[in-house]
């Protein structure tokens, strides 16, 4: 009897071990995915978002299908990448087989579809030498020192061909690459910005009916808070800053229940990677983010010291540039033109009361005010002075503007 129990127990144990062995997942892939298990688990795959410095590294649409680029990419891939990723792009190159973290398999069309272009470019550029890949032991070398931006695009275009997808590798072709961001957007942003990101959510109309500011229409070209020149779309870092800081309201508690009278709440509490995910989804409403050739930002010089002379010059420039017309002689937002101001959508808009720093929508730090002055606030009457003011003159106005506020003591004490 005891012998029979022992045999039963042993057979059960061995069977269990065999099952475990068979069920053991294959080695982790370099892109953190176990795509072989998608059908079984149907979890979808989550690629970490590209960091801010790569978030605007979108590949020009034409590159993905340009035969010359693909040919150039093949040449580079064959010489430098195939030893690990394999000539067939399946991650089974002779050197890759022995790596603890398996190279990406570009024939895995689901995995490729979920890999955003800026993530891909980041991986090719930095390799596995950045987190979270470094901690996982990725052996992928960084190529940014050896391959030009164009060559990295070309390699990606060739790698993309292994997936079998025809056409550019963009979010509107691969909505699954935005799943995480879309889920967050639906939960956190749709009430104001609407399902289609047009700023027409169900709550939007109740925020300040028939008055600006209204929730941003992400499909339009007008983005107020930018570090880019007038007429340009913002950088992802600009969007990240707005999302993190929120936007203060102009006339008291326009959004009941949200602290600090904000038109848009701060999402500082949301983990940065989730903010990046939702911004990738937000950008997908506007193809212009993929169609711009280059992302130029307004140069932000180091703020100079504030002096009595600078404040005097700033006061004169404030008058010369007719800032008083909207903001008023004393900066209270009560200039002669203020009652007539309208935004691009035809809504009445209030000139910012410069004596209340907590109402500066684009931030009240010296660099924030400088950026606002030099880029303007698109879609509002606030113009860009980037073409008409020298940086020194801009700093003069910035410091004078800040000296008008209730909290001016901190800014101007040293000058007095």
């Amino acid at each position: 009897m005891r012998a029979k129990s022992f045999v039963t127990l042993t057979v059960a144990l061995v069977t269990l071990l065999l099952v475990l062995r068979i069920a053991q997942p294959p080695a982790i892939r370099a892109n953190d995915k176990k795509h072989e298990h998608k059908a079984a688990h149907d979890h979808g795959h989550v690629h970490v978002p590209a960091p801010l410095e790569y978030a605007d590294s979108h590949v020009p649409l034409s590159v993905w299908t340009d035969p010359a680029q693909i040919a150039r990419g093949k040449e580079i891939f064959t010489a430098r990448c195939a030893v690990c990723h394999g000539d067939a792009g399946d991650g089974k190159g002779p050197a890759g087989l022995a790596l603890p973290l398996k190279p990406s398999d570009f024939t895995d069309k689901n995995g490729v579809a979920e890999m955003r272009d800026n993530y891909w470019f980041w991986r090719v550029s930095e390799g596995g030498q950045v987190e979270p890949f470094k901690s996982k032991g990725s052996a992928m070398p960084p190529w940014k020192g050896e391959l030009s931006v164009q060559d990295r695009w070309a390699v990606m275009a060739y790698q993309h061909t292994f997936s079998g997808h025809q056409g550019p590798h963009v979010p509107w072709e691969h909505p699954e690459s935005l799943k995480v961001g879309r889920d967050i957007f639906i939960m956190a942003c749709v009430p104001c910005h609407g399902v289609d990101g047009k700023g027409d959510g169900s709550v939007a109309a109740t925020l300040s009916p028939r008055r600006a500011p209204q929730p941003r229409d992400f499909t339009s070209a007008d983005f107020k808070f930018r570090s880019t020149p007038s007429g340009n779309l913002p950088t992802t870092a600009d969007l990240f800053r707005t999302m993190t800081e929120g936007v203060p309201g102009v006339r008291g508690p326009m959004t009941i229940g949200l602290r600090a009278h904000r038109v848009m709440p701060s999402f500082r509490h949301m983990p940065p990677e989730q903010r990046l995910e939702v911004l990738e989804f937000v950008k997908s409403f506007n193809r212009g983010f993929w169609e711009r050739d280059d992302v130029k930002t307004v140069c932000l010089p180091v703020p100079p010291p504030v002096t009595i002379e600078r404040l005097a010059r700033g006061k004169q420039l404030y008058a010369d540039a007719e800032c008083f017309a909207c903001h008023g002689e004393h900066g209270r937002g009560d200039g002669p033109s203020a009652p007539t101001l309208k935004d691009a959508r035809g809504f009445s808009i209030t000139a910012t009361d410069l004596t209340k720093r907590d109402r500066f929508k684009n931030g009240a730090r010296v660099d924030d005010v400088y950026r606002t002055l030099m880029t303007g606030l698109a879609g509002t009457p606030m113009p860009s002075y980037g073409d008409s003011l020298e940086p020194e003159q801009a700093w003069d106005i910035v410091y004078y503007t800040l000296s008008l506020s209730d909290e001016a003591a901190n800014t101007t004490d040293s000058a007095r």
Binding site: V14, P100, G137
Partner: protein, 114 residues
């Protein structure tokens, strides 16, 4: 039957233990000591970066993969290198075994020459 089952279990455990002791690691070559037949690499795993010195077994190979020179042939061919050919900065992968207090290996594969 008892003997058979026990043998199966012992065999399984032995295979499991042996398998667990082998692990591929990859990293950057930091130092090569041809007299001691060792390669020291810097490797990162589980968020920790460390230097590991690997002792090459007698007859161990250092190989790299290159394109065949014969016309019409594709793929890669294995090329043997001397240990002294390995240079600091190169990326390698090594299947190591733990023997005594040492990490030992039969093959060092060059992933990237830099």
């Amino acid at each position: 039957m008892i003997r058979f089952s026990a043998l199966l279990l012992v065999g399984w455990l032995a295979v499991g233990v042996a398998g667990a002791d082998e692990a591929p690691i990859s990293g950057t070559v930091k130092n090569v000591d041809t007299s001691a037949q060792t390669v020291t690499i810097e490797t990162t795993a589980k968020s920790k970066t460390r230097e590991v010195t690997i002792f090459l077994k007698p007859g161990a190979k250092v190989v790299k993969f290159a394109r065949p020179t014969e016309p019409g042939k594709s793929g890669f061919v294995e090329q043997s290198l001397a240990l002294s050919d390995l240079k600091p900065g190169w990326l390698v992968s090594i299947e190591t075994k733990h023997e005594g207090n040492k990490e030992v290996a039969d093959v060092v594969k060059v992933v990237l020459e830099r």
